[in-house]
């Protein structure tokens, strides 16, 4: 089961027929498992990794360290939800350490992101402070090296 998920995480475009061969499992079983993973939200979503810089599309991302006051009964969850509902927010993590939430915000330019932080994020009830860190370059994302320079060095034929 984990092997199937590993393969799908790496490349979800592989057909059930191919997966069936590689994992030595019947096609029907693969299809059933995938359906089960989807319905149980084990597979949350299928997405593509795009190098937007190469595509010529300007995007600015900031990682914001947010300190909050947790609320009785719901802890950090309620405030986290108020933050992650914004479409500008790309990811939210609850952290251990010197701040509580790590929030990634994406916009088309610096002003847009700064505006979001000052007018939306920092004004949410319970947000105590924010520290905004702008991302300068993306080297690796979701386990994938964005611009991998490592080349094939092997000979065409070798013993």
């Amino acid at each position: 089961m984990q092997e199937l998920l590993d393969l799908l995480e790496k490349d979800f475009t592989q057909s059930p027929e191919e997966l069936s061969i590689m994992l030595n499992m019947p096609v029907a079983e693969i299809t059933a498992l995938i359906a089960k993973f989807e319905s149980e939200q084990i597979i949350v979503k299928y997405q593509t990794i795009i190098d937007w810089e190469k595509a010529g599309v300007d995007k600015v991302t900031a990682v914001i360290e947010v300190k909050v006051t947790p609320e009785r009964e719901v802890g950090f969850d309620a405030i986290a939800e108020r933050i992650y509902r914004y479409p500008e927010v790309r990811s939210v993590y609850l952290m251990s350490g010197s701040y509580d939430l790590s929030v990634a915000v994406e916009g088309t330019n610096l002003r847009e992101v700064a505006d979001f932080v000052s007018t939306k994020l920092s004004t949410i009830h319970g947000v105590v402070s924010t520290t905004t860190n702008f991302m300068l370059k993306k080297y690796k994302y979701a386990g994938v090296i964005i611009n991998d320079q490592e080349e094939e060095h092997r000979l065409v034929v070798s013993p």
């Binding site: 191919e18 061969i21 490592e150 092997r154 013993p159």
Partner: protein, 390 residues
């Protein structure tokens, strides 16, 4: 008298590697998909590379002791015990070599007197016969067949054994066939070795790339510790081919003799590779598991592809090679490989490069991406169909 006449007759008697000839044609072409590569497509895991860089930063650039860094020998001893429950003393029973290739050369030179015979099941790795000949021995090849999934049996060996036979040289999991030997199969070979009092050299470089059951180290068989030289290394399992680090494990007398040659010809294996090998043994097990799992997926993919084309192919259970028969195409191995390269730009290795009994087969390495394998299968199928329609 030309300079060529000054070359030693022994060296002149050895044919150049059959792979080399084919390489020259393939290397010239553009857009070739290669199933002809006998090394992992993975780059050495980063933590292993990084440990070498760290060593260089600290100035680890010297010779090591002839036998290799003690820490590395200790790690090798530990891994041999953990994997196969065989006990070798880091001092005296282990020698770090420049790949299995050097280990093989040392073993042959340390053991052979002129005219001594070495039994070699075939198809086999390209250097086996040459190493024997260069050491003054006589290579006696024993053909194996697809019918028996390219395993060797005592019965077959019996037909070739003579009073001059001194060594049996085996390599399982096998390059080029992908064949493996079960513990039961090997026990039979061990009895044969005892009966004829042979030394067994067991090249186990692909040991960790075993997909069905577990690998049996030859010296772990009853009473085989003394008469066996186990050769192994880091190239295949840890994707470390270019580092050139291998090792020999044997009784103290054999290791002392091999070390004597090693100290005068090689001095020591490169320290950079040895440092990296320590890291590989200490923290590389997870990498091996991941790579093996991926090879296994590709193995099933490529086997299925060839069977769908209607080519005869036994299921290889080790290494990263498929060895399909191309006899029904009516072409020789070399013709098949050359015509496929010209017509469809897919490189693979003609089976006869690995000995006469490899004729009628081709070696396809699946140490390449699944995308490459899928595209290669499409091209090969088109080629095979075009032959049938001729």
């Amino acid at each position: 008298m030309s300079w060529a006449d000054r070359i030693s007759p022994t060296v002149k008697s050895i044919p150049p590697s059959g792979i080399r000839r084919f390489f020259d044609i393939a290397a010239e072409m553009k857009g070739v998909i290669s199933l002809g590569v006998g090394e992992p497509d993975f780059v050495t895991p980063w933590h292993i590379r990084e440990s070498c860089i760290y060593g260089l930063n600290r100035g680890q650039t010297s010779y090591t002791s002839n036998a290799g860094l003690l820490e590395l020998r200790e790690e090798i001893a530990k891994s041999l015990y953990n994997d196969y429950q065989v006990t070798y003393a880091p001092r005296g029973e282990l020698l770090v070599t420049v790949g299995v290739s050097e280990g093989l050369d040392l073993a042959m030179r340390a053991l052979l007197s002129p005219g001594d015979e070495v039994l070699i099941p075939e198809p086999c790795y390209v250097s086996y016969k040459s190493c024997v000949i260069l050491a003054g021995g006589v290579a006696v090849t024993v053909p194996t067949s697809m019918k028996n999934e390219f395993r060797i049996t005592a019965q077959e060996l019996e037909q070739f054994v003579t009073p001059r036979t001194k060594i049996l040289l085996i390599g399982y999991p096998n390059n080029p066939t992908g064949a493996v030997m079960s513990r039961q199969n090997l026990t039979e070979i061990a009895e044969f070795a005892t009966k004829h009092d042979l030394i067994v050299i067991s090249d186990e470089i692909y040991a960790k790339l075993t997909y069905d059951g577990t690998h049996t180290c030859f010296s772990s068989l009853p009473d085989m510790m003394g008469r066996t030289i186990v050769l192994n290394g880091f190239s295949k399992a840890y994707a470390m081919t270019g580092w050139r680090i291998g090792y020999a494990a044997a009784n103290p007398d054999f290791i002392a003799a091999m070390t004597k040659i090693h100290q005068y010809t090689m001095l020591s294996a490169p320290i950079m590779g040895q440092v990296a090998a320590i890291e590989a043994l200490k923290r590389g097990e997870k990498d091996v598991e991941q790579m093996t799992a991926e090879y296994n997926q590709r193995r099933r993919l490529i086997l299925n592809g060839f069977r769908q084309m209607g080519l005869d192919c036994f299921e290889p259970k080790g290494a990263f090679y498929l060895f399909p028969s191309i006899k029904q195409t009516g072409l020789t191995s070399l013709q098949f490989a050359e015509q496929l390269l010209q017509a469809e730009k897919v490189a693979l290795v003609p089976g006869d490069a690995f000995g006469d009994s490899g004729e009628g087969f081709v070696r396809c390495s699946y140490a390449t991406s699944t995308a490459n394998i899928k595209e290669a299968l499409i091209r090969i199928e088109r080629f095979v169909k075009s032959i049938k329609n001729r």
